[in-house]
Symmetry: C2
Subunit: 333 residues, 2 copies
């Protein structure tokens, strides 16, 4: 397998990116890495490590697209950027997949414009996998499509279903509709219309409306949503956990000796719990519906997060999800 790596994407690029590649290189021996970015910068990072040189190919790219540039404009203007070069490697078939921790907007627009949509898919969707109490869950979409039609959401459900089934080896994953009430008639115009369509959809196991408070249990595998609500749920999930920990820290300062001792004893244990919550363990978010394996890594990814995104890209490839999605949507047309 060949993976294109946006060498300049993310807050910690290029050092975290190169670190991630090096961490993965011995574990996934059949993978060849194409790193894009300013040659001298990437080489400087690589020179810190000892690694099989023939498996890391450097593609020079002089420009970088930052997160505060207009995505489509930047893609058009900066043909020599690390992200555009990496996307072109997938488009022309040199690479099987791409990972970027750079601008989400530029990445999603680039995947759609350069790599292209799968025939029959109306809107590709960003679908991160999150740690839940009793299992992982996936929200499709979390921001690629802020204004949606019911038909898009049905497609999100079908793509999520194929991904979850094949990547996690679950026979019939459950698909729920993110909604503000469990009854069929609850919700806004979009969810009410979507419910009716999902109920009739034979290819998925639709379990009805799921309220946001029940998402973190992980009992429902795939949550279908418009990108605005999905993003709201996702960011509130991240924000709440870190806020709760922050509140505990605030209190620790004021705590009595007994509580401080308790915290000291508990530290390794709490670290274990937190690991369950750590997005860095989970890799990135697949962008489903485009004609390639496109993984968006978290902007603040470190080497470990990058390594996990590489693992995820490989699993995506090995599981044949891309072909399954193509087959499903071709048969619909």
């Amino acid at each position: 397998m060949k993976i294109a790596i946006d060498g300049m994407g993310g807050d910690n690029a290029p050092s975290a990116v190169v670190d991630g590649v090096i961490k993965a290189i011995n574990e996934y021996k059949e993978v060849i890495f194409y790193i894009t970015g300013p040659e001298e910068k990437i080489l400087l990072e690589l020179s810190k490590y000892d690694y099989p040189k023939e498996r890391v190919i450097l593609i020079d790219a002089k420009e970088v697209i930052s997160t505060n540039e207009h995505p489509v404009m930047a893609l058009r203007k900066k043909k020599d950027s690390s992200i555009v070069k990496a996307l072109n490697l997938v488009k022309d078939g040199t690479c099987d997949g791409i990972i970027s921790a750079g601008s989400t907007g530029a990445f999603l627009a680039g995947c759609t414009l350069i790599v292209g949509r799968i025939k029959g898919v109306e809107r590709p969707a960003l679908a991160p996998i999150m740690p839940g109490r009793r299992g992982s869950f996936m929200i499709v979409d979390v921001g690629a499509n802020v204004d949606c039609k019911p038909e898009y959401l049905v497609q999100f459900g079908k793509m999520g279903n194929i991904y979850y089934k094949n990547v996690f080896n679950v026979n019939e994953p459950s698909v729920g509709l993110l909604n503000i009430g469990v009854e069929e008639e609850k919700g806004n115009e979009l969810t009410k219309a979507t419910y009716k369509l999902l109920k009739e959809e034979k290819s998925i196991k639709f379990v009805g409306n799921i309220e946001p408070r029940d998402i973190p249990t992980g009992d429902t595998n795939i949550l279908v949503s418009d990108g605005f609500s999905g993003n709201t749920a996702l960011k509130m999930y991240e924000g709440s956990a870190s806020n709760l920990l922050g509140m505990i820290k605030d209190e620790v300062i004021k705590a009595d000796i007994k509580s401080k001792l308790g915290i000291l004893l508990l530290k390794p244990f709490l670290k274990g719990v937190m690991k369950k919550f750590d997005y860095k363990e989970y890799g990135g978010a697949p962008f489903l519906g485009v004609n390639g394996i496109c993984i968006k890594a978290h902007g603040s990814s470190d080497g470990r997060a990058f390594k996990n995104a590489i693992r995820q890209t490989k699993t995506f490839y090995d599981s044949g999800v891309l072909e399954e999605i193509k087959k499903e949507f071709l048969s619909e047309m």
Copy 2:
């Protein structure tokens, strides 16, 4: 002050309702309570306590509206229900405010249809106050209006501003727009159009877009949102905290002796942290924009939560928020 209490609203009615009234009766000596519900049931609960009889007036109501009934249909059919009787007490001027922990749908519809909207308010909005890390915050709306126009959201901001300013004695509370990105051009059609209007609104201190992950800090006092996204954020906030604690509990069972000892030492401390997160401390959610003080208490309220909802109803009354909202919207017409 006279408060109408829906004696049969909530999972623990009527016992929790009566318990809350008794808890509040000595603290708020100038309040008279009108409890609606089946006479014999309410009397049985009251008979368990010793209290000043002249300050509790029983209004017989034989029917109860449950949470799975169609709100408007149930309101029309069940004229003798505890909620309708309580709403009528506000409508006819007998009472100054109402508290109900019953069906949210029936309560909101009843407030609008029976108590009525304030002139100039297009859509009343449900606005719970939540505990944040550095202060309380308010989300307006969390479910009364699932499909919104930009103009509604501006009104939500103005009503929230008046409430927060007067109830929390904050001179210029900050008003943010719940959105999935901080830049002005981020979001869906609704938030983009709303941003433009809020920016021009002189009567509030608009601080721009606020991402859901930054809401729990409490740094922004009032978050404006359509009811669907607001409800999603609220329920995810509640769900994440209880899920995190659940995950910790799961791990505790497997923990080693050292960690278990740590937890034992920490218990009282953690209880203090959790109290900060406890909606029961915060009373209920005011329904802003209707012509009366209408407080929706949490469905699972216990006596303490009811007592706090009574405190909140009294503060709402004393602060003159209702008159301020009327004045503001009258001047607009």
